[in-house]
């Protein structure tokens, strides 16, 4: 295929994914979809391999959905018809947690299947023992809601009433979920129509050829990048805070990354067994986290199945990075998935130091269900977190961003929260001193404080990095850890922890969510004075923190006292030796 047609089709395919995403973003019912944009839309070839995603689709969705689509091909080959629509949320196949429901449609052109269009989004509830379905202390996935393997929700254009009714009978507030489902079904119909229009215009042979070439294109591009990484084996390991409520021991996640020529292998054999909590990963989530990390080091490589091809995996079954049923998995995103990103970044750090960064914060999911005294109505509220990223080779880490795998996700505004739920925010801002010290420091984490304004509610959290905060690189220091505290700074203070489950909160209680900054990069004693002065001026770092961690003295004119700082740094260096 000539490069011009290729380029033209690349942009046309991308705009199809965008169009599906926009349609769901604007017309679904779950607030986390329509405010949070917790959505992934993508196109796949006839074998179910990823071709393209849009500009705000979540990496975690598009990379994992590939496994679901392939499963459909495997199970339904010979039984796929025009007008079929599949639904799926099975993490052991290619779902994330049960809340993320994927809708997938095969696309036919003149009777021949040429590909698939798909869109996933976070439904506010899919049943299970807790409102919102996220349950950090679940011991089996049966507690986390309805597990839907890839099944037809529509066959030949007709709704499969049985499947539909089973789903709607097992979720809270089903009329809202009807809205989510309708919006997804209309999105894949739009995607299907656009692909057919492209085939009409450019010829179906060209479309099929493009699908293969775009995979090859990404593969070759990534191979060139890997080729530049020195051959060798690189190790990294880190720990999740605790195994489960039965065992407070940390859980190891370890990787051996081997680079040979233009190929890489990620071997997770050294990782601990799967846990008896909801903090478990699956084969597809672990692969996805590695791909998302690599992609973020080489942003020019377009996301497609081609990004998977130069990389092989060893992920033993029954480990925390490849749990088997009936393991619970609803805490995956904020725990194992983030840790796999962490160990991958750590292994890559020594392979390509100029592209790597200190460790980022980890996602915190918070779910609260209660009754508003005033209206008597039941509500389920979901809040995710943004935080700091690690320092980099030439500059500080960024602050106030969502996780690497969810770059398209948007925070819900305070004013929307307060109007929809009986809570009142006291603070939502950057967290002073929370970035890991370094020559280039980690970005600031965030702090959110809200009060229960009316009634009572049950609060659950899913997150990690309380005992093992984001680490620094090349002399950079760790960031402040994460946490969840009730009535912080008062006599009624309770450390709820990020493993809180169905904790009863009452009117007047204040909940504080502490999100980590990123790890530092390089020796903090080498930090530039002018940068430090700016951090102080803007209130991002306190003078005490600058003194203790950076050896910098701020004088009473709010300037760096360079002479005093030089002396202090010399003392600190000496003491360290």
């Amino acid at each position: 295929m000539d490069t011009i047609t290729f380029s033209v089709l690349q942009s046309a395919f991308k705009s199809i994914a965008d169009e599906m995403n926009i349609n769901m973003f604007r017309s679904a019912y779950s607030a986390v979809i329509t405010e949070g944009r917790d959505i992934g839309a993508a196109l796949f070839n006839g074998n179910g391999n990823l071709i393209v995603q849009g500009e705000s689709d979540l990496g975690v969705f598009v990379t994992m959905m590939q496994y679901s689509v392939r499963k459909i091909v495997e199970v339904y080959e010979g039984n796929l018809f025009e007008g079929d629509v599949f639904i799926n949320n099975d993490p052991f196949i290619g779902g994330t947690h049960f809340n993320d429901v994927g809708v997938i449609k095969p696309v036919f052109y003149k009777g021949k299947r040429i590909g698939f269009v798909a869109i996933a989004g976070h439904w506010a509830d899919v049943g299970g023992s807790t409102p919102g379905s996220l349950n950090s202390v679940a011991e089996e996935h049966f507690e986390e809601g309805l597990r839907i393997p890839p099944v037809k929700i529509m066959e030949r254009g007709v709704m499969a009433k049985g499947v539909h009714d089973i789903i709607m009978s097992n979720v809270r507030i089903p009329w809202e979920r009807e809205g989510d489902l309708s919006s997804q079904i209309s999105s894949v119909a739009i995607g299907e129509r656009r692909v057919i229009e492209l085939a009409d215009k450019y010829g179906v042979e060209n479309i099929l050829e493009f699908m293969e070439e775009t995979i090859e294109y990404a593969k070759v591009m990534l191979e060139k990048e890997i080729d530049k990484i020195p051959d060798g084996s690189y190790f990294f390991e880190e720990y999740m805070d605790e195994e489960s409520k039965y065992c407070k021991d940390p859980v190891k996640i370890a990787v051996k990354m081997t680079v040979k020529g233009n190929r890489m292998e990620f071997d997770f054999s050294g990782s601990d067994p799967q846990t008896r909590s909801a903090a478990n990963g699956t084969y597809s989530s672990t692969v996805s986290a590695v791909i998302v990390t690599i992609k973020s080091l080489f942003p020019d490589v377009p996301m497609s199945y081609g990004c998977f091809l130069p990389i092989s995996f060893i992920i033993p079954e029954g480990t925390v990075v490849n749990a088997r049923p009936p393991a619970a998995i609803s805490a995956m995103a904020g725990t194992v998935y983030e840790k796999v990103i962490g160990v991958s970044l750590g292994a890559l750090a020594h392979a390509c130091p100029e592209k790597s960064t200190g460790c980022p914060h980890g996602l915190i999911n918070l779910v609260m269900g209660g009754v508003d005294d005033k209206t008597g109505e039941y509500y389920v509220m979901y809040l995710f977190s943004e935080g700091g990223f690690g320092g980099r080779a030439t500059k500080d880490g960024s602050s106030g961003l969502v996780s690497l795998f969810g770059g398209g996700a948007r925070i819900t505004p305070v004013e929307v929260f307060e109007r929809k739920y009986p809570i009142l925010f006291n603070q939502w801002s950057l967290r002073q001193d929370s970035g890991g010290p370094g020559r280039f420091r980690g970005g600031n984490g965030s702090i959110k404080r809200f009060v229960i304004a009316r009634g009572t509610a049950k609060l659950s959290a899913l997150g990690d990095r309380e005992k093992f905060p984001p680490w620094g690189l090349f002399g950079g220091k760790p960031a402040m850890p994460q946490g969840l505290v009730l009535n912080m700074g008062t006599e009624r203070e309770v450390n709820l922890t990020l493993k809180a489950s169905n904790y009863l909160v009452k009117e007047g209680d204040e909940v504080t969510v502490l999100v980590a900054g990123g790890g530092g990069y390089g020796d903090p004693l080498e930090r530039d004075y002018a940068l430090a002065e700016k951090d102080f001026l803007h209130g991002l770092l306190s003078s005490e923190h600058l003194y203790q961690e950076y050896g910098i003295v701020i004088d009473d004119q709010d300037k760096v006292d360079t002479a005093a700082s030089d002396r202090l740094r010399a003392e600190m260096r000496e003491a360290a030796e």
Partner: protein, 682 residues
């Protein structure tokens, strides 16, 4: 009553003036160089050169990019932002998204107001509008006091939940204005009464950032024009496609960021209407970008937000203009995977495309058009700007053709194809988002580079007609004279329809309509010249996005919501491909009202007399490349020579001072009334 109106649009390179004589009905066009060091000089030059006496002018309409440039070039005022305690980082955190999905080296752009100038006041209002903590005057004054020594010029105020109760913002503004009369003070709730604090905070920050600059400019321009005898307030083109009196500046400051593109869109709408075209899409291509706007069924499409750059949002009604990096200066480059890309980087005016011979080395779209013979190969701008085609050839050969192992002309054609596809995709997205069928539309080509690409873009989109106005390069100035005064009002409601009686809604609309009437009266519109449209933002109960629906007062005249509900289901189906069942509860989020002050316009603005012989002769011919047939000789006409009613078949090139039009082999062209050129094909 006939009036003498003038419109002056200031762009980066040229200042365009358009003058309408009420007696003869004639339109005069003047193009002078812009004067970047002091923009009003160019404005006064254009007026002076036209020979018009400002004391005889009734309405002076004006378009300016001063606010847009201040934001893009980061040259706005030093602003202090005052917000509720605990929330100063809303401006920084924004909505937490990444501008590039996978890129650890990416950073958010700097905030317009630095963190140390974002101050927190210990006040609070809850989501129902109840006061929890009042504004403490001495606390507020001490905050501002600390800032004055820092040289702050403007203060933006944005408190949480001010959309439902603006009293704290109003109190704070009054206190600061009284104590510091020289400061420019603006509040989020006076600009928009909608929820979502980031969008309001960003909007008011932009307003404060551009306000003082705009005010200085307007004050001096107003003074100058008064000295020359002009007696009214100057009318400024706003992003919503209407004009408004320049005072009070606080009202218009954040509403001028799309002044130019909005004016061009108004011209597109006006000219299309004169040609009886109901649904039209415009592509307005200049040196660096292409603006795309839609008229559907005679109405310009609008939306509720503009993102000036990543994370800098103005949440106010604007003409729905999509901008993409595709223009004459758009650069070609090959990525590491060996794929040819166009833009979004542009060579700009300096160094410009390689053929300008100003030091540019990377081939631009214009280089491809010059090499293929579609643009004049010796000089542009009506012969006044010499160029060098050999430089284009060498650059495309070396930078594109050789690395891709392609023929140099094929490579140039490929550059064109990619730009056309990029524009087509942007058009498709804009149209598809609204559920329209693109085949119902004609394509309106303007800007210097638009008419060259338009036919190819239209064919890519399965469209069948292109309209090229008489002066594609001055559409924004023409739009100024075609506009009416427009004010927008919005108020948050956020109630299920079941908890609201139509009578209550009628009362709330009445409040907005009264305000609109008062503002129009203040701008000297009598009741015969006022028009009003009302809208409702509705959604299904659980959704958080709304659809804006125009309301016929008859729809809410009775006691029930049946008509509204039915209309909404239809609109939802058309917009998103599904509708909920009839008993699905609806929520009313906001009510809106637009008040229009209808300006007297005379003559056929945008229609020009055309001359020339009944059977014009080509001025010259030149060799032009076609992918299928290679080079072939193509006649080149001068636009000025084409009389009304003349028609022909391509390939033909038509040149004029401000653009070049390309008519492909077999395409028919026709000189319509008013000098507009229509291109069609089978």
């Amino acid at each position: 009553m006939k009036t003498t109106n003038i419109g002056i649009d200031v762009g980066g390179t040229f200042t365009d003036g358009i003058f309408l004589d009420p007696v003869t009905g004639k339109t005069i066009v003047k193009k002078v160089h812009s004067t970047p060091h002091n923009l009003r000089e160019g404005v006064m030059n254009a007026i002076a050169q036209s020979g018009y006496d400002l004391s005889a002018v009734d309405l002076f309409m004006h378009g300016t990019t001063i606010a847009t440039n201040a934001v893009i070039e980061k040259k706005g005022s030093k602003v202090a932002l005052i917000t509720t305690r605990g929330f100063r980082d809303v401006l920084k955190i924004r909505r937490t998204t990444r501008g590039r999905l996978y890129d650890l080296q990416w950073d958010q752009p700097d905030e317009l107001v630095e963190r140390r100038y974002r101050l927190e006041l210990d006040e609070r209002i809850d989501s129902m509008g109840n006061v929890i903590r009042s504004v403490d005057k001495s606390e507020l004054l001490s905050l501002v006091e600390g800032m004055t020594s820092e040289g702050i010029e403007a203060v933006a105020i944005c408190f949480i939940n001010s959309y439902i109760n603006p009293s704290h913002e109003e109190q704070a503004a009054a206190i600061i204005r009284e104590a510091y009369p020289h400061l420019y003070v603006t509040t989020s709730s006076e600009l928009l009464r909608e929820w979502r604090e980031f969008e309001r905070m960003s909007t008011v920050s932009v307003a404060a950032y551009v306000g003082p600059l705009l005010k200085d400019y307007i004050d001096i321009l107003s003074r100058d024009s008064r000295e020359k005898g002009y007696q009214n307030d100057i009318l400024l083109m706003l992003s919503n496609g209407g004009v408004a009196p320049v005072y009070p500046v606080e009202h218009i400051a954040p509403r001028t960021l799309l002044s130019g593109p909005a004016a061009a869109a108004i011209a597109m709408k006006g000219i299309s209407k004169q040609l009886d075209e109901r649904s039209v899409i415009s592509i307005d291509s200049g040196g660096t970008s292409t603006d795309i706007a839609i008229v559907y069924n005679g109405e310009l499409m609008t939306r509720d937000e503009q993102e000036i750059e990543f994370g800098t949002v103005v949440h106010l009604p604007i003409i729905d203009v999509a901008t993409i990096g595709a223009g004459g200066g758009t650069l070609a480059w090959i990525d590491r995977g060996g794929m040819l890309n166009m833009g979004p980087t542009s060579a700009g005016a300096m160094p410009g495309p390689v053929c300008y011979n100003q030091g540019g080395e990377e081939p631009a779209l214009t280089d491809a058009n010059v090499l293929l013979g579609r643009l004049n190969q010796t000089a542009l701008l009506g012969g006044s700007f010499p160029i060098n085609v050999a430089l284009s050839h060498d650059a495309i050969a070396k930078k594109i053709a050789e690395p891709l192992s392609m023929d140099v002309y094929e490579a140039a054609q490929g550059m064109l194809d990619i730009v056309n596809e990029n524009i087509a995709n942007a058009v498709r997205r804009l149209v598809a988002n609204r559920g329209f069928d693109i085949r119902e539309f004609a394509l309106f080509a303007c800007g210097g580079a638009g008419p060259l690409q338009a036919v190819a873009v239209a064919k890519t989109l399965n469209m069948t007609k292109v309209i090229v106005p008489r002066y594609p390069g001055i559409t924004a100035a023409i739009g100024l004279l075609m506009s009416d005064v427009r004010y927008d009002y919005v108020e948050s409601v956020i109630l299920p329809l079941s908890e609201l009686a139509p009578a209550q809604l009628r009362k709330r609309y009445h409040v907005l309509l009264t305000k609109a009437s008062e503002d129009l009266a203040r701008a000297d519109f009598d009741s015969d010249h006022r028009r009003f449209t009302i809208y409702a933002d509705l959604r299904y109960m659980a959704q958080t996005h709304e659809l804006t629906m125009e309301i016929d007062p008859e729809d809410i005249a009775g006691d029930g919501w049946d008509v509204i509900a039915e209309k909404f289901h239809v609109l939802h189906q058309a917009s998103y491909g599904y509708a909920a069942s009839n008993d699905e509860p609806l929520e009313l989020v906001s009510i809106r009202c637009s008040g229009f002050g209808i300006l007297d316009k005379s003559g056929d603005i945008g229609f020009f007399e055309v001359g020339g012989a009944a059977v014009p002769k080509p001025a010259t011919e030149r060799s032009v490349y076609f992918r299928e047939t290679g080079f072939q000789q193509v006649p080149v006409f001068r636009r000025d020579d084409l009389p009304q009613g003349y028609s022909g078949i391509g390939p033909v090139i038509i040149e004029q001072m401000d653009t070049t039009i390309f008519v492909g082999p077999g395409d028919r062209f026709y000189c319509e009334k008013g000098g507009n050129l229509i291109i069609t094909w089978e």
